[in-house]
């Protein structure tokens, strides 16, 4: 993560550039002396329009937050809790069901080849169903975490600069995962799991800076979050 200098001072970048001290310093000076580039067209208009749109949609959220945060938080956390409890179960259930079916088929003495094929099929189905269940669980968890992050966005106290940069980096990584998900659907499960892990990182970051509202309900909600983590 970035190491922003507290005083923002610039280190002597040119010194000892790859073992070429004099050349390094001179190159740094020459590069810094290059004129600043100009974007060519005014990007402010588009940005201003987007900002205006965002702030209009953000205002009601702030008001809702002021009064509705304990409810939203509790609901989000409860959902996350339920999802996290459900996550390991679907594959286990599927395994049990299919395992009891497969031996019954193999009891026929004349059909050992068939039974092997059946077992293989059963295993394939079992794997597929397990993967599908895991995928669904990861998607649900991802949704729940995103919802929590969205609902608590305006309640978080200002983040220290480094955390803010970290949050920005995690969001960028999530964006990268989304790009990969769109281009390589065959790797959906590991990508969704990676997405969940990144969202959990973001949640931890947000939560660590979360302003504790001084209401019993919020404290209870945060206790719930602690239990999840």
């Amino acid at each position: 993560m970035s190491d922003l200098n507290a005083n923002g001072s610039i280190k002597a970048g040119g010194i000892n550039a790859g073992g070429n001290k004099s050349g390094g310093v001179k190159l740094g000076d020459a590069l810094r002396a290059l004129p600043l580039a100009t974007p060519g067209r005014d990007g402010w208009t588009a940005l201003a329009a987007q900002l205006a749109g965002n702030s209009r949609s953000a205002r009601p959220r702030r008001r809702v937050w002021r009064y509705g945060v304990p409810i939203a938080l509790a609901a989000g956390l409860a959902l996350a809790l339920v999802v996290s409890h459900l996550l390991p179960h679907p594959p286990a259930t599927t395994v049990t069901t299919i395992a009891t079916v497969a031996p019954a088929t193999t009891s026929s003495s004349s059909g050992s080849a068939t039974s092997v094929a059946n077992m293989t099929n059963a295993k394939t189905i079992q794997t597929q169903e397990g993967a599908a269940a895991q995928l669904a669980a990861a998607q649900n968890r991802s949704q729940a975490l995103e919802r929590w992050l969205r609902d608590t966005r305006y309640a978080a106290s200002p983040l220290p600069s480094q955390d803010l940069v970290a949050a920005s980096e995690i969001e960028n990584l999530i964006g990268l995962v989304d790009v990969e998900l769109a281009s390589t659907p065959t790797r959906a499960l590991p990508l969704w799991q990676r997405r969940v892990a990144l969202l959990e990182d973001l949640t931890a970051l947000r939560y660590s800076n979360y302003r504790l509202a001084e209401t019993a309900s919020t404290t209870a909600s945060i206790d719930t979050l602690n239990r999840i983590n």
Binding site: N5, G13, G24, P39, L47
Partner: protein, 192 residues
């Protein structure tokens, strides 16, 4: 030594106004940092359109999060970090994150050629470097990041950062001042 072009003092009152959602404060901040952020993105990506996108996305991110900004680091440093992250992320996304092949360049003590090169020649030469080498060189020389910091940004080692700076420097030297190859003894080459 000239400081990074980002290094501009921003009045706290302007940050406060931006935090309060005043669009004209946003605009003033945008105008202050538009060219430094665009230049950084352009040097990293080497593509004007992509650099404009990065400028837009980075500024949007800055303004959307300004209410979360605490003044424990200068505003310019915070904004620069976001712009840098956006640019590097885009570079990575476009699978343009490969460094040049493992070729050693000689680093000698001859007079540096960029002292005599004009700005446009230096810019052109810079543009011929592989994107990652150019990015490392820029982050180190112009933005003043240390090798460990750069290593962290690009997900490589400190030695990698050092070697990219050395190679980029040597390569610029070659591009800006191509020396005719000496003719080896016994060569059949004939200059007429």
């Amino acid at each position: 030594m000239t400081a990074s072009s980002f290094q501009q003092e921003v009045p706290q009152s302007m940050i406060d106004r931006a935090k309060a959602g005043e669009l004209d404060a946003f605009e003033r901040l945008y105008r202050m940092f538009e060219r430094p952020a665009y230049t950084l993105a352009l040097r990293i990506l080497g593509d004007a359109e992509a650099a404009r996108d990065v400028l837009h996305d980075a500024m949007l991110k800055v303004f959307q999060r300004i209410d979360q900004y605490r003044s424990d680091a200068p505003f310019w440093a915070w904004l620069r970090q976001i712009a840098l992250n956006e640019a590097l992320m885009r570079l990575r996304r476009e699978r343009n994150f490969e460094s040049e092949s493992d070729v050693d360049y000689l680093v000698d003590d001859a007079a540096p050629t960029w002292v005599h090169a004009d700005a446009s020649a230096l810019e052109r030469a810079l543009g011929t470097l592989p994107a990652l080498t150019r990015s490392v060189l820029w982050m180190y020389h112009v933005e003043g990041y240390s090798h460990p910091e750069i290593a962290q940004f690009v997900g490589k080692t400190t030695s990698f950062s050092k070697s990219q700076v050395a190679r980029g420097t040597a390569r610029l030297r070659v591009i800006l001042d191509p020396q005719p190859l000496p003719i080896a003894a016994g060569s059949s080459a004939c200059l007429i």
